[in-house]
């Protein structure tokens, strides 16, 4: 295969057909990825708007900007939208959808119609969610703990649970598609251990989605029945068990944390390899660590219940299993760092995001150990310490990975380069703004400020003001890419097939790729990230 620049004026997936219908009814995984990109960006903006209002309210201790029940709706909708409609679909459905077939040399995903259906199921769920929002929203927290949600809240619990239920099917469809595609559609010569680590990560994620999402679906159905028909499954007054809900909920929602972070880890592996021009250190360990995380992730849900009255022995088992998850996560971080050693490192924007990810994820992961340590969790559970921890993982991890990947593959997606200067500015703003927003929350959490507090004691104010200041910097950092990426679609410099000099099948086809991705099916003869073979080949050529 050659990596020369292809004439980009020729037919590609963007100019192959015009008109609204050609987009809305497309079965091309690349166009569906763009549909998802638009949709998740809208949800991200809505979720971000809620976050802004939350931070504004917390500028003062009194709780004077909005009423308490408005505040409760704000943080609930922020969580629901960000998790179910942004973080879970973002990397798989946008970047994964676009890049997975290209990475394995396939013409499309295995089931293009299911792919399109998954998008509309997602949109339907989103519309239902927004409708619920307009009709009063929901105030239970995204965790929907019973019996508050089932028996006491008179907000739109049933509608929002239904939206989450439906969104789950969209995830399942995407996951099914990815699993079958990886099994059946790899290019000749592309063995499992030649797969890019992004593919391993998406594969592991898909398995989690397939196994965990049905449990969420069942849990949400029970919640809907309890809320609308007062069946009392979770109501102790009727012989039900409120804590049972927490077990079922976290049986999905802890793995969901890995649904959100594993794909980002896959992206980081790609970025580190490409911008160090070096094979990922310990490839097999990084690949297997994704599988290990996927497996262990199912066995640790009870670490959310240490102070729930759960048996201390059950707590101990969940604690030790949670500790084990730290190992494959640490293995990844060490291997990425070792990849940079003796690399040829360049600092384009995607690499800045990757380095930012390593920094933020390290802190997010280490603070996870604080929470898995039972005696310490007793104090910090349900405080801002937890809020800070999961934002370091979800925002510092997933969103950094998402933005890094978006910039990295943007030339492939749009056929244009993004403006490097502005992109670097935004990466810097995101990194600085992020720390400023969330680091103070660790401190205020250890001081004892509970989460989901509309008003708080005055001695916590300074830390909250810092956090709000950081959030405005962070917000600016997120706004910039929306502007300049849109701008670059039209005015950006035309991108060559392989602007980064990276190896990987996606860089061997033109930017943007033709509708069926490759003019001829590529044949793979080398390991992933094999920079040495490529230079030898080109020397021979």
């Amino acid at each position: 295969m050659s990596s020369h620049t292809t004439d980009s004026s020729r037919s590609n997936y963007l100019n192959a057909a015009y008109g609204v219908k050609s987009w809305l009814l497309t079965k091309d995984h690349k166009r569906i990825a763009l549909l998802y990109l638009v949709a998740v960006s809208i949800f991200f903006s809505v979720g971000g708007l809620f976050a802004a209002l939350i931070r504004l309210e917390l500028l003062t201790p009194e709780g004077d900007l909005v009423q308490p029940d408005v505040y409760n709706r704000l943080f609930t909708m922020h969580g629901v939208i960000m998790i179910f409609f942004f973080l879970i679909p973002a990397i798989p459905a946008v970047l994964g959808n676009f890049i997975l077939p290209l990475m394995i040399g396939a013409k499309d995903l295995a089931f293009p119609r299911i792919n399109l259906a998954s998008f509309y199921v997602y949109v339907a769920a989103g519309i239902l969610g927004v409708w619920a929002l307009i009709n009063g929203g929901v105030d239970t927290g995204w965790t929907f703990y019973t019996p508050y949600s089932s028996m006491y809240s008179n907000t739109q619990v049933t509608l929002v649970a239904m939206a989450g239920f439906i969104a789950g099917f969209s995830s399942i469809m995407t996951a099914l598609n990815f699993i079958v595609t990886v099994h059946r559609m790899r290019a000749p010569g592309l063995t499992w251990f030649r797969l890019p680590l992004m593919v391993w990560a998406l594969y592991a994620t898909s398995i989690i989605i397939m196994l965990a999402t049905p449990v969420l679906a069942i849990t949400l159905v029970m919640l809907m029945l309890d809320h609308s028909l007062h069946l009392g499954i979770f109501d102790p007054a009727q012989g039900g068990d409120p804590v049972l809900f927490q077990h079922l909920f976290w049986f999905y929602s802890h793995p969901a944390v890995y649904i959100m972070i594993l794909p980002a880890m896959g992206v980081i592996s790609e970025l580190v390899a490409a911008f160090a021009r070096k094979r990922i250190f310990g490839y097999t360990f990084v690949a297997y660590s994704s599988m290990a995380i996927a497996f262990l992730g199912f066995l640790v849900w009870g670490h959310h219940l240490f102070v729930s009255g759960q048996s201390v022995y059950a707590g101990a088992i969940f604690s030790i299993l949670s500790m084990l998850v730290a190992v494959p996560s640490a293995v990844k971080v060490f291997n990425w760092t070792a990849t940079l050693f003796q690399g040829s490192v360049s600092y384009q924007t995607p690499m800045l995001y990757a380095m930012g990810f390593i920094g933020l994820f390290t802190i997010g992961g280490l603070t996870g150990i604080f929470l898995a340590t039972m005696g310490l969790d007793t104090h910090v559970h349900d405080t801002y310490f937890v809020v800070a921890h999961f934002h370091y993982v979800m925002v510092g991890g997933t969103i950094m990975g998402y933005l890094g990947g978006l910039h990295y593959w943007w030339p492939k997606i749009s056929g244009r380069m993004y403006p490097e200067f502005w992109a670097k500015v935004s990466a810097l703003l995101v990194f600085v703004g992020f720390h400023l927003t969330f680091f103070p929350q660790f401190i205020v959490g250890y001081l004892g400020m509970p989460r989901r507090y509309h008003a708080y004691p005055p001695e916590f104010q300074i830390l909250n003001v810092l956090s709000t200041a950081g959030a405005s910097v962070l917000g600016l950092g997120y706004l910039l890419p929306i502007i300049y990426l849109t701008w670059s679609m039209r005015y950006g410099k035309k991108a060559p097939a392989n602007p980064w000099g990276a190896v990987g099948l996606e860089w061997e086809t033109s930017s943007p790729p033709p509708t069926f991705n490759f003019d001829e099916t590529p044949v793979v003869t080398h390991e992933a990230y094999d920079y040495h073979h490529r230079t030898e080949d080109s020397r021979v050529a």
Binding site: Q310, N335, S344, H454
Partner: protein
């Protein structure tokens, strides 16, 4: 806006030092690891920056030895933290036998406390210093969580089931008391102060308040008559129901052959849903009192029944007691621990 703000919470219980030690260890460990990784990334990024357009990295891309080292070290540290954290947690979960017994009832959006002598308070709790305090808590509606940051303890307060939290204050003063589990509109207002007093001051405070006319056990005895429990539960054998003297803390055999230990949780269940567990040798005659006795009164009845076994050591409360209750019966699921 107060410009001098704390970075570290007040430490005012015997538990606080143990939790803080874990915290400080982890903070130092995290700082070290973050600097190590951040430093390595920074060093490599500068040292190995790309010098020419077509430069590529070296071919050094794996080392089993390194993989083993950097898996084993985190594993060892995590296991250490597990054991250390579990030790602290077990201490937090096991109230000493001589603890003063308080009760708490959570409801949207207030905490109702009762002192061992019957004194009651709302959203404020006065406790003596240097005395283990055990609070048995239950919620009247949704899940709440009783949280004393200065003591580093917290426990969810559930509807339909007792949980316990304990601490021993080491410093007089007034500290925050929060509800940590989201419970609806006024969640952030559901709290107040815990006031730690010298023992004499505590006595004076108790005497100064609107003194409770009866102790909880006396009030329970009165209820026992009023609710006609006495008609079946005689002071000796021969009643339609079992005699209740001396049962607290003992094992009782049920008609399906299981034995359970009589603790607060069991007593609560026996009163509210007697049909769940039938004492061997008796008929399921006892009427259910579910929905008819307030949680306050259930507490009083239990205190009374406990007083009939005076001086007995308190078995661990429902939340931390799993050794004696078989987990097989499906009917247990709702009330026992749900691992």
């Amino acid at each position: 806006m107060p410009l001098d703000f704390p970075l570290f919470p007040e430490a005012a219980s015997t538990m606080a030092g143990q939790v803080d030690a874990l915290y400080i260890f982890l903070v130092v460990l995290s700082a070290f690891m973050s600097l190590l990784i951040g430093g390595a990334v920074f060093y490599c990024a500068v040292r190995y920056r790309r010098r020419s357009e077509d430069e590529i990295g070296s071919n050094f891309h794996g080392s089993i030895l390194l993989e083993i080292v950097w898996s084993a070290i985190p594993l060892a540290i995590c296991l250490l933290l597990f054991f250390w954290g579990a030790k602290v947690f077990f201490a937090q979960s096991r109230p000493p036998a001589d603890a003063l017994e308080f009760t708490a009832i959570g409801k949207q959006w207030m905490w109702k406390f009762q002192h061992p002598d019957g004194q009651r308070e709302i959203n404020t709790l006065h406790v003596p210093i240097g005395q283990p305090i055990k609070i048995t808590a239950i919620s009247q509606d949704v899940i709440h969580s009783l949280y004393f940051p200065a003591f580093r303890v917290k426990k969810d307060v559930l509807p339909g089931r007792y949980t316990t939290v304990w601490f021993e204050a080491t410093k007089t003063g007034s500290y925050h008391l929060f509800c940590a589990e989201f419970c609806g509109a006024e969640h952030s207002k559901m709290g107040g102060q815990v006031v730690v007093l010298e023992p004499e001051e505590y006595e004076r405070w108790l005497a100064g308040g609107a003194a409770a006319s009866q102790s909880p056990a006396e009030a329970g005895a009165a209820l026992f008559e009023q609710l006609a429990c006495v008609t079946c539960h005689l002071d000796g054998d021969g009643g339609r129901g079992p005699a209740l003297r001396g049962i607290y803390g003992e094992d009782v055999t049920l008609n399906d052959g299981r034995t359970v230990v009589v603790n607060d949780e069991y007593l609560r269940e026996s009163i509210l849903t007697p049909a769940e567990k039938i004492v061997a040798g008796f008929q399921p005659l006892m009427p259910t009192y579910k929905g008819q006795i307030s949680e306050e009164n259930v507490f009083k009845l239990i205190t009374y029944i406990k007083s009939l076994s005076g001086g007995r050591e308190t078995p661990a409360g429902g939340a931390v007691d799993e050794s004696n209750v078989p987990q097989d019966a499906a009917t247990d699921a709702a009330t026992e621990d749900t691992p």
